[in-house]
């Protein structure tokens, strides 16, 4: 029969290991002695955009930061379970956390460029990795800024302070900064919550382009945003993974009543 529209999404159940970027197995996290994540298991597909939605405090941000072990900056933190990436458990004792964080980049809610020039911002991670050859840095900076759709706007003022950029440009700069390290996974923690709607759309468009380079996981409060940008969506509630499927089905016919209530705004 004639197919008018092509679907890009793969069925989650039949993901092979090559198609999986992160394999979360029975992950539980406690912060300050309260259970924030309760036995989460999910496979996050490679080169796709996966969105995490749910109410505030449902644990989606915690889940996101357990992918690059940023949770460990908390004082009272305990976990069990494992996260497999490239066939290794990132929670194993052998894992170099600093190295891991170069492979799993992260972008935060508020744009947080360092108070240095645009160029130095993008170079920051590379310099820490000990890369200092000017030609190479120049190349990576340009490439990263292009990927972050910022190059044309800033190419003439690379050595001006990054703080002079607008909010949306700053956020794209922060994304470029993460991209400079060529991460396998990019974590976005509510990347547009501090931005105006139009800038938000620009960032979303950027994010949907990014999946060609890396796997994107995005946490958002904005359900519409999740629907717009993501290929897959996970709905979390009180630390539990309620529903996880491709966004088309999740937003048109969710399977669980809880999900339906949340995305239709009937919640609580």
């Amino acid at each position: 029969m004639l197919k008018l529209f092509e679907k890009e999404t793969l069925a989650l159940e039949s993901l092979s290991d090559e198609q999986t970027a992160l394999d979360v197995k029975n992950l539980s996290v406690r912060l300050n002695d309260s259970l924030v994540l309760d036995n989460i298991s999910m496979r996050i597909p490679k080169n796709k955009i996966t969105a995490m939605i749910g109410q505030s405090g449902c644990g989606k941000s915690t889940l996101l930061s357990s992918f690059n072990r940023m949770n460990e900056l908390h004082q009272h933190y305990a976990y069990s379970g494992e996260v497999i990436m490239d066939g290794r458990n990132i929670y194993s004792k052998k894992e170099n956390v600093a190295k891991l964080r170069t492979q799993v980049g992260m972008v935060f809610q508020r744009p947080n460029p360092f108070p240095m020039s645009i160029y130095e911002n993008v170079c920051f991670g590379l310099r820490i990795q000990g890369q200092s050859e000017r030609r190479e840095l120049d190349e990576i900076v340009e490439q990263s800024l292009r990927h972050a759709a910022l190059w044309d706007e800033v190419k003439d003022r690379l050595f001006e302070s990054a703080l002079l950029l607008s909010g949306g440009q700053q956020q794209r700069l922060v994304i470029a900064r993460a991209l400079a390290l060529k991460p396998e996974v990019l974590l976005l923690d509510e990347p547009t919550s501090a931005l105006d709607p139009l800038t938000t759309l620009h960032i979303e468009e950027l994010v949907s382009q990014l999946k060609h380079n890396c796997t994107v996981i995005i946490v958002t409060h904005n359900m519409q945003q999740a629907a717009r940008v993501s290929d897959y969506s996970a709905f979390l509630h009180q630390g539990q993974l309620i529903e996880y499927s491709d966004s088309d089905s999740l937003f048109t016919m969710p399977e669980k009543k809880q999900t339906e209530d949340y995305i239709t705004g009937r919640y609580g």
Partner: protein, 237 residues
């Protein structure tokens, strides 16, 4: 007030693509239906049962297209939250598919004349039918053109064509009634022929609906169920 709708200017490239795919698929569906009608006409003209059979089979394809397009509309509404012209476009597409699918059904009813061997016994009626059918084809083509180009002027022009079809239809009905009174033994066939003639007229009406949707799309005003003349005066001022 007319607004030019440009599909390709969304920030989201994917959204652009989705809307484009959507309009293209509607036009594909329209083209398919148009082809159906043309095939039906030639089947009637040549009394070619196998071609008519093909038309009947092909209708399933059109039905499936309607379902797919409706699904896509729903998906886009759910995922993209379309607004203003995007929303009108999707609503237009959503309504248009229903009408186009109905046109397909009407065409099937006409094609069945051939497969059931119930062509009008009178040449005069048959040629009148074919003449109307040709007019309908022209009108349908104009409709889809107007839809593709979102051109309200040609939509209005097409809209006006329906009057002549209606006039011919009335004439043909009179003619048929005259013929029927002379051939009371074959009433069953004549009833089917009457239905088919009515179907042709209905296709014209559906095309009119589609033209109204085009106006809705470009002007953002629903012009159904209102005096066309008044509306047009208001719109084209």
């Amino acid at each position: 007030m007319k607004r030019n709708i440009e599909l390709n200017t969304h920030i989201s490239g994917k959204f652009n693509q989705e809307l484009e795919n959507l309009t293209n698929s509607v036009l594909t569906m329209g083209g398919e239906v148009e082809q159906q009608l043309i095939s039906t006409i030639s089947a009637i003209r040549e009394n070619n049962a196998s071609e008519a059979e093909k038309v009947l089979l092909n209708d399933a394809k059109i039905n499936s297209m309607e379902v797919q397009i409706d699904d896509e509309c729903m998906r886009i509404i759910a995922k993209r939250n379309p607004t203003a012209s995007d929303l009108r476009l999707i609503m237009t597409v959503y309504r248009a598919t229903t009408d186009i699918e109905r046109i397909g059904d009407e065409i099937c009813r006409i094609a069945k004349l051939v497969t059931k061997d119930k062509l009008p016994p009178s040449d005069l009626v048959q040629s009148g039918m074919l003449m109307i059918a040709e007019k309908v084809v022209v009108m349908m083509r104009g409709t889809f053109d107007a839809l593709a180009r979102q051109d309200e002027k040609s939509a209005v022009a097409v809209y006006e064509q329906d009057n002549s079809i209606d006039k011919k239809h009335k004439e043909l009905l009179k003619q048929t009634a005259k013929e029927m009174s002379g051939a009371t033994d074959d009433l069953q066939t004549w009833f089917d022929v009457l239905w088919a003639i009515r179907s042709l007229e209905r296709i014209g009406d559906r095309c009119k609906n589609l033209c109204e949707y085009v106006l809705f799309l470009t002007y953002g005003k629903d012009v159904r169920h209102s005096s066309m003349k008044k509306t047009l005066k208001k719109l084209l001022k």
